[in-house]
Symmetry: C2
Subunit: 96 residues, 2 copies
DNA sequence: TAGTTCTTGTCAAAGATTGTCTAAATCTAG
DNA sequence: CTAGATTTAGACAATCTTTGACAAGAACTA
C-alpha cells in the first residue's frame, strides 16, 4: 500500500475534490495533486491534517508515512534488507 | 553497534591518529572527530574512503551507515517498529 | 465550447547539511 | 610542571534540499 495512492483512494471514496481537501490542509490543489501522484512528500503536519480531512486513523497514516521515508532511504541499495533489519533490532532493543 | 563507535574502535585498533585518517579521507581532523563522536554523519563517499582507510568490509560499513539513517528516521516514534516492518515488507516484495 | 478539475513546470524562500577554520580542551612524554 | 601533539567544540559561509506558491497547460464534464 502506497501512501500517495491510499490518500487518493480515500479522497475519492469520500467524493471530495482536490480543492476541498486543499482548503482543509491550508494549501493549494497543486500540492495535493502532487502528493497524490507521489511527486511530493507530505510534511508531518500535512499528514495530521489529511488524517482529519479524510477520516483516516492517524497512527495508520503516520505509519505509512514513516515507512515510506524508511523505504526511500534504502531503496535500490544492495544492503537494503540487512540495513532495515539492523535498524529494527536497534529500535526494538531501545524499547526495553 | 553504533557507526561512530565502530569507526573509532577500528581506528584505535589500527593505531591511527585522527590526522592520518583525515588525510586519507581528504578532510581535516575536526570532521573525523565529529564523525567518531556522532556529531556528523559521514557522506557515502566518506564511508567508502573510511572502509579503505580502516580496512573494513565496505558492505558491512554501508549496512551500518544505512541502518543508522533508517534508525534516525523513525527514532522516538511511537509507530517506529510498525513503520520499519512495513518498509521491510515492501523492500522484500520489490526484490521478487 | 465553456467551465471546472487536475496536473505540470518553475521559482524564491526557508531549512538542513557540509567542509573548513580557529581556538580551546585534553592527553603524553620529558 | 611544561611543551608539544592530539582531540574536541564552536562558528561560519557555501552548498544542497525541501517547501509553498503561482501560473499556465491538460484533461474532463456537461
Amino acid at each position: 500500500m502506497i501512501l500517495s495512492e491510499f490518500l487518493k483512494s480515500k479522497r475519492e471514496t469520500k467524493n471530495l475534490l482536490l480543492r476541498e481537501v486543499a482548503s482543509m490542509i491550508d494549501t493549494d490543489t497543486a500540492l495535493i495533486s502532487k502528493i497524490e501522484k507521489g511527486d511530493r512528500k507530505p510534511t508531518r503536519e500535512q499528514i495530521e491534517k489529511l488524517a482529519l480531512a479524510l477520516d483516516i486513523e492517524y497512527n495508520k497514516l503516520l505509519t505509512l508515512w514513516l515507512s515510506e521515508k524508511v523505504y526511500e532511504e534504502v531503496n535500490g541499495e544492495e544492503m537494503a534488507i540487512d540495513a532495515i533489519k539492523l535498524a529494527l533490532k536497534r529500535v526494538k532493543s531501545d524499547k526495553q
